[in-house]
Symmetry: C2
Subunit: 491 residues, 2 copies
């Protein structure tokens, strides 16, 4: 894999002087075109120490217009980053459409280093790489152009390079004892990274291996590769970009639907309701004050038919909590900043810290419900959303987030009754809009989408709880009980 | 000041039961109207320990729709917050238009506590309060509705309350030894907070003092006050809101303008340029690697005539730096998220951490330049921007941020020459737009605005550097020199 990058590539001064001005102009022009394009560019700079990664990042900033580049250098995670899933720090720095984000140190760094120093097993490394593949696939599916560069040096060359950096008083500060102890691990690092690179060189985001010995060679190589990548993408008209294939779906040829199989007559008496409400609210309050609650966070997702009582159920939860520890996120149309990012970005930005409780009133599932039904996104987009969502929730769970997901179901008749009742009251918060009536007309389409959603995203780690909600009281208690049980299990 | 809040206000159960449902409905309706309004609501909950602050925050969340409330509890600042000016943590949590932000613990907490425990002098407290007044004035000028509640308990009552909380096993956890040592400082706390409250009870954002003894009394009082505040604001049609007075400006009755007094023939030879460029870029590189650089951050602001060479000067700085430590922010039209916040919010969100370098290509000064000339904001808005900007920069400087501000001036003739030259080249990045020509027609208006800006915002702590830029090389060296000198002084 590294054979070609140990050949001793060199570019002489004349060639460099001749090529660079033209390349810079072309890069600047591509950047200007990019500003009006609908995709972001992610450049990953990784590889061996001393192979010129930092210098290349600087050169790219110098050759291009740094105003449209975000350079992200990976320091140790901050406290705020540490409390959230590993990928949060990358999500929060993703470049929006039209911009270039350079990652110096990236999602590859930690898994590779962890394995080199022996903190993880082979299977864990493979698993990490598998997750990265899925993450990058999501990004490219969302339109991102990913360019990955691996800077390589042979063992001899790395040794020479560290020595010569140390000699020069102006660069001495850059060589730390850490660098030397890393050098001792050269062979292992090479083996592990070769494995990682091979695994993650996908058709959507392949690696480019660059020999790092000669500064002119590596700069020109990366510069030209970036230009090529940009142009290849910019010069294809939007319409011609390959349409995502839509996997076949099971056609609904009978009436047996999961969502119709619920027993909506389930109910609870007024007395029992009052009693259990007090009991479970009290329980929830105590659970969130448990010592171990500091180590977890909770996300409750509410989806359901219009007028199914999501708001009422949410208030029964929040009134048991301390307002300092929860936040309710109503999900509406994305803002401009959010539209310039991958779909899930707007949820990542609201992930709770440890010991916090986030309630989503509608959620990322909008992608496979309203966006699917209304055609707000292409079929390929909502189809891939199922696995993107599963990946997202898996990361949350790995970070010790308790996820509870509720689908509140009412019958079509009950909805009509509630709509009509609401139209009679003067309470503004119960306003029924034309949109509610329109959604109602698509009841059967929604039923199919809901069943698909549950089949595809009710996982062992983040199962859906279907809530029979014709009786509001019954629904509220079921919701509270489920949350208490889930937190109890996690503590 | 606290007399009325020690009278022993109580509300009996019947009255409470009668009033609450009506109040809740009215609050919910007001919240719905707020969603379509163009202002945010900021509720501050402060006061004596044990006076029911937390309970009131919870009640407000319970009575209103928590989906449109952001509750911000003031914990210890995180590492990311700690590295930025004190107010950054509040800026990042400001509610956008249409939402309510509840601050439990606010910008009052630290200055009052610091003074009570004797860390600050009287003058320092006064200074902090003065800054808060200016901050709140900015918020209200931007349209925010600020409601400030101070929860009071007499010394006897506080003692009783802490005792009774301690007795109940369900509330015992809430009383810490900190609370008891705070109690010992009751008299001093009372004195200091009375002083602070008096000073910061402005016509735009007055305090409401609430007796905290009786839960029903305090909840109902705050609920009704919030409703009143909301309705008073919602029920006034937008047009009728009092127009901001515009302070008189010195009329320009002669031709003596600061900006015209510059000697634009200043220049530098090619050889000298190359020599000094190397010298100062090297110097800058070394300065940013100085040990003490970890304790400061740098902000460089570039403003200037179109085609004055801002981009070229910026690149001469960034190419001396490590790409990992700088970011260039090109300032364009605000996004939707940004338009829902006070004007300066979009700059606060990009403040650099320690040891980082932020370059703004155009900046917050757009408010008093293009927005003033093009009428994008009302005269009152850009007039008050001068002092808001001064306050902003003062906070930066207090946080050990080095601010350098450049105005790059070229003559009208030189601009014409550059425009015409650019129209001949094929380089996209030099495209001259119709807007550039339009701006040029307003040359004289801009001159006045520029002089006003410099007169009003060139302060001792953040002075403007006027750069004669007819000769690009001269300008670039002056910029580099100025930055080096400023950093040197700060280290």
């Amino acid at each position: 894999m590294f054979e070609s990058a140990e050949l001793g590539h060199r570019i002489d001064k004349e060639r460099y002087r001749k090529d660079v001005p033209e390349l810079r102009e072309a890069l600047l022009n591509a950047q200007i075109d990019l500003q009006e394009a609908d995709f972001p560019v992610i450049i990953i700079i990784a590889g061996v120490d001393g192979a010129g990664k930092g210098e290349t990042v600087n050169i790219l900033n110098e050759w291009m217009d740094p105003r449209h580049i975000q350079t992200n250098a990976l320091d140790a995670p901050t406290e705020e980053e540490f409390e959230r899933p590993r990928m949060w720090r990358f999500w929060r720095t993703l470049p929006p459409k039209g911009k270039i984000g350079i990652y110096f140190g990236s999602w590859y760094s930690a898994p590779i280093v962890d394995h080199v120093i022996g903190n993880t097993k082979n299977a864990e490394l493979d698993q990490s790489m598998e997750r990265i593949i899925r993450f990058e696939k999501m990004l490219t599916d969302e339109g991102a152009l990913i360019l990955k560069f691996w800077f390589h040096l042979s063992k001899d060359e790395q040794h020479k390079r560290l020595k010569s950096l140390e000699k020069d008083p102006h660069t001495r500060w850059r060589v730390t004892s850490q660098d030397w102890s890393n050098f001792k691990l050269y062979d292992r690092f090479r083996k592990v990274s070769e494995h990682a690179l091979r695994q993650t060189s996908t058709s959507e985001a392949p690696w480019t291996i660059v020999e790092g010995t000669d500064p002119r060679y590596r700069s020109l190589t990366v510069g030209k590769a970036v230009l090529q990548g940009l142009r290849a993408r910019l010069d294809v008209p939007r319409e011609q970009r390959q349409l995502m294939a839509v996997p076949p779906q099971i056609p609904a040829i009978d009436d047996l639907l999961l969502i119709r199989s619920l027993d909506l007559t389930k109910s609870i008496s007024r007395e029992k309701y009052e009693e259990e409400l007090t009991e479970y609210q009290r329980k929830l309050a105590l659970l969130t004050r448990h010592d171990n609650f500091r180590k977890i966070s909770v996300i409750a997702v509410f989806e359901g038919n219009d007028a199914a009582g999501k708001g009422g159920s949410i208030r029964r939860i929040t009134s048991a909590l301390d307002a300092r520890q929860y936040r309710v996120m109503p999900v509406a149309a994305p803002t401009e900043d959010e539209r310039a990012q991958p779909y899930l970005w707007r949820f990542w930005r609201h992930l709770p810290r440890k010991a916090r409780f986030a309630v989503f009133d509608r959620s990322w599932y909008g992608r496979v419900l309203v966006e699917r039904i209304e055609g707000y996104c292409a079929p390929g987009d909502w189809m891939r959303a199922y696995s993107e969502i599963n990946d997202f929730e898996e990361q949350l769970v790995r970070n010790r987030t308790v996820i509870v997901k509720f689908w509140l179901t009412i019958s079509k008749e009950e909805q009509l009754r509630r709509f009509e009742e609401r139209e009679k009251t003067g309470f503004k918060r119960f306003k029924i809009t034309a949109e509610d009536w329109r959604n109602r007309e698509k009841w059967e389409q929604y039923e199919l989408a809901i069943c698909d959603m549950i089949d595809r995203t009710s996982t062992e780690i983040a199962p859906w709880t279907l809530v029979e909600a014709n009786d509001k009281h019954y629904a509220r208690i079921k919701v509270l009980k489920t949350i208490c049980k889930a937190i109890e299990r996690a503590l």
